[in-house]
């Protein structure tokens, strides 16, 4: 019985500390890169050993490859990605006029594909879509995240903030409970990072492949035993909007490597 009360006391202390903390202070923003082992950092830092570069390579080929139906490649309109796509990933998600909603980079690539190339949309998290997204986002590597200043995005960003702070799942945890209040501490054997989306799509050693931010968010939702949103769900784009605002100023690292 005494042990039980002790546990309740500990739980109360943890509960209070979670309630008391508010977001991230400006000076303490740190990329997930800083929390990794030196070996994994070295893997990301050298382009000849970074496995994410395989997807960049594939994306570069897809960028040049015309689609059958309209016989036009991405490069046909956008030209040299190194110039036209520079900085794009650092300001996405952007407001989409057609759907009156924010749209993420992969969503934009797929909609461009449907409208301009008259081709079938690529499956979410498919290798081709990931390769193109990685290639486009790679052009912004090293640039600071600067979310688009568009007032129409504000209500969606607020929705994202609320999602970030809402407790979900059987474990009753919010994103903020770990990544705002307890970053830098350990969950099991792993360090809890600040959850910045500055390296996506990224190569995760656990996945043995490149994956999207949505895949990562689904992982976390399953981890707290919540029902994850489907790929392409509007909630994910709202959440990404908020995460990008939260990570404002951090340099892009695509393709990052994470454990």
């Amino acid at each position: 019985m005494r042990a039980l009360w002790g546990l309740a006391g500990i739980a109360a202390v943890i509960g209070c500390s979670i309630v008391a903390a508010v977001g991230l202070e400006n000076g303490e923003k740190r990329s997930g890169f800083d929390f990794m082992t030196p070996e994994t950092q070295a893997l990301q830092a050298d382009d000849t050993s970074n496995p994410g570069m395989l997807w960049v390579l594939q994306g570069e080929q897809l960028w040049q490859q015309p689609e059958d139906s309209a016989n036009i490649a991405c490069a046909g309109c956008h030209g040299d990605a190194a110039q036209t796509m520079r900085g794009v990933a650092a300001r996405y998600p952007a407001f989409d006029e057609a759907t009156r909603r924010p749209i993420d980079l992969a969503g934009r690539i797929n909609s461009c594909r449907g409208v301009k190339q008259q081709a079938e949309p690529m499956a979410p998290d498919s290798d081709e879509l990931l390769a193109l997204t990685t290639y486009v986002a790679h052009q912004s590597r090293g640039m600071p995240i600067t979310p688009a200043a568009d007032s129409r995005l504000e209500p969606f960003r607020d929705k994202g903030r609320r999602l970030f702070q809402s407790r979900i799942g059987q474990l009753d945890l919010s994103c903020a409970a770990c990544h705002d209040d307890n970053w830098g501490r350990r969950l099991g054997g792993s360090v809890i990072p600040q959850a910045h989306p500055n390296g996506y799509p990224l190569y995760r050693l656990e996945w043995q492949g490149v994956g999207s931010l949505q895949r990562r968010l689904r992982n976390c939702m399953i981890g707290v035993r919540a029902e994850p949103f489907a790929f392409g769900a509007p909630e994910f784009v709202d959440l990404e909007l908020y995460l990008m605002e939260r990570a404002r100023g951090l340099p892009m690292e695509t393709p990052a490597v994470r454990p």
Binding site: T48, S49, P51, M53, L54, L57, Q61, Q208, G209
Partner: protein
Amino acid sequence: MARALINVPKTARRGEIVEIRAMIAHPMETGYRMGTNGANIPRDIIRRFACAYDGEEVFSADLFPAVSANPFIAFTLVATASGTITFAWTDDSGETQTASADITVS
């Protein structure tokens, strides 16, 4: 076209030891995993990697299911003469993917 990243120095002095790096996109499926409904995912790995310098094999490696996806292999060569270094990865179905790079030795 193989999705491979190879890193060979463009130039080298005669007799210099140069580092060669090769990485290829490959799932390296072990054959021990189960997919949906308990169906076995068939094994699909690269069995052999070989590197030839001007047609002569100078390095090779046998790979096994424990090797991770997108295998990365680094090794050193002695630069003897200008020529082409070719890389070949052979998988379970017997198919070979190749890549090559030139080196100039002065």
